[in-house]
Symmetry: C2
């Protein structure tokens, strides 16, 4: 990479999927990872060994602060981390979609958010260059610093405030987490009739493939968008013994038709 | 292909996505497509020209029947097509997931179902070898004939009765049509905050990518599976102005937790 970041040293707090991915990606991009912090020493050691960092279980023991700390812990733990660093002069950046930047304001020095719009699985290699990084900072200079850092990894870097970031997170939950759950339901239905779930994989792949070329409302197929009430009713009847799935089927089918009508207006 | 089908001539009724794909794929596999039938003459001509067939708008005018007719029309039109062929000695095979084979029983000669478990878009090239073909026939010999035909296209050919086929169709609707609709909702949310929907595409691709390697319950991420009630509640609050999406969010989140608990039992 030709760009140069205004930050050269980072410590990563949290060794979950996000911490694992950001630590290894930034390390490969030339950033020095000073510490990897986790309450569980073996987790800290494991990730630290991959990025030549010092494993730490209590951040209170750190004397020399890096340029910034990347806080990759669950939403409900961010505030407690900020408390630990109050008055130390450490600069914190959290990575959550739905926690506001205000959770870091108690630090009374520049703080920020760097939210990668992606689902991460530890150990799963990934091309970061297309992953959108959504940034927010309490201060314009620190925003620039975060921008230079994010551009080390990705071509898609945006400034966005906490409220819009939360809406994007909700959109991501629909497009990713909830879609994945619908596949869980489908797999369960296949199991019910002793059929291999994997037979659905080509269909799932093609559904995603179509979204590379067309918008999702245009790509919509199936009985709901055709308003094929005979088939819809026969499916609701067949789902009587799975009342939650029956309810989901009904809600989603009505919604599909509503979207089609809105789209054709 | 080395296998030889017990059928060498086919006519295709219907020129939608399924008719288009099956006609062109079977033509390329060496089958003679005799006629392409559509009420709309220009649709019949268009597809017929691709597969060296005769375009027909009224099947009553056909004198020499092919080995079989592949009926690729919407579910509610299959019965009327069967009526047209009653007493002619024509062998009909429909391609629907949810219409029973009994709709063809009035023909009182062998009939069948050949249901490809895939979403088709006209003009979109595809590898058929991994597409499951689900077969049913009124007669064991005709089932063999259909099997030899399906094997010209795919390695994955299964016999399955009408009831199980309907459940597989419902599973496919959840995994494909409903997932696609969730992406439509996500795109609409992105539009609401003036953000480009395409930023979600890497996330959607990775969600599908994970399903090549792990089962969907294991692949599940997000606030619901972590039972992160603070985040879930803040999302429900943020969706108050989109009550249908709020309801879906609630239902799907409860369901995700239920699946996780069932899985961990």
């Amino acid at each position: 990479m030709i760009q140069e970041a205004n930050v050269s040293t980072i410590s990563v707090i949290g060794t979950g999927n996000v911490g694992w991915h950001l630590a290894t990606a930034l390390y490969r991009a030339g950033i020095t990872i000073c510490h990897v912090v986790s309450r569980k020493p073996e987790h800290a050691r494991e990730l630290a060994s991959l990025v030549d960092a010092i494993p730490i279980s209590d951040p209170g023991t750190i004397e020399d602060h890096p340029d910034l700390y990347l806080v990759c812990v669950s939403d409900d733990a961010i505030s407690a981390i900020a408390d630990k660093f109050k008055g130390t002069g450490a600069r914190l950046v959290h990575t959550s979609g739905s926690t506001g930047i205000n959770v870091l304001s108690k630090l009374s020095i520049p703080a920020g958010v760097l939210y990668p719009l992606q689902t991460f699985t530890k150990g799963n290699e990934m091309d970061y260059s297309k992953v959108p990084f959504l940034l927010e900072a309490t201060d314009p200079d620190f925003l620039k610093t975060l921008g230079s850092l994010a551009k080390l990894l990705s071509d898609k870097v945006f400034e966005i405030d906490s409220e819009a970031r939360r809406m994007i997170h909700i959109a991501a939950i629909f497009a990713c987490n909830f879609s994945n759950h619908l596949v869980s339901i489908a797999a369960d239905m296949m199991r019910e009739i002793d059929f291999d779930y994997e037979l659905l994989v080509p269909l799932i792949n093609e559904t995603t493939e179509k979204l590379q070329k067309m918008d999702p409302v245009t790509a919509q197929t199936g009985p709901a968008v055709r308003n094929d009430t005979d088939i819809i009713n026969s499916h609701l009847e067949a789902l009587k013994h799975r009342p939650r799935d029956e309810e989901l089927y009904k809600l989603l089918s009505e919604n599909i038709l509503r979207y089609r009508n809105k789209h054709n207006e």
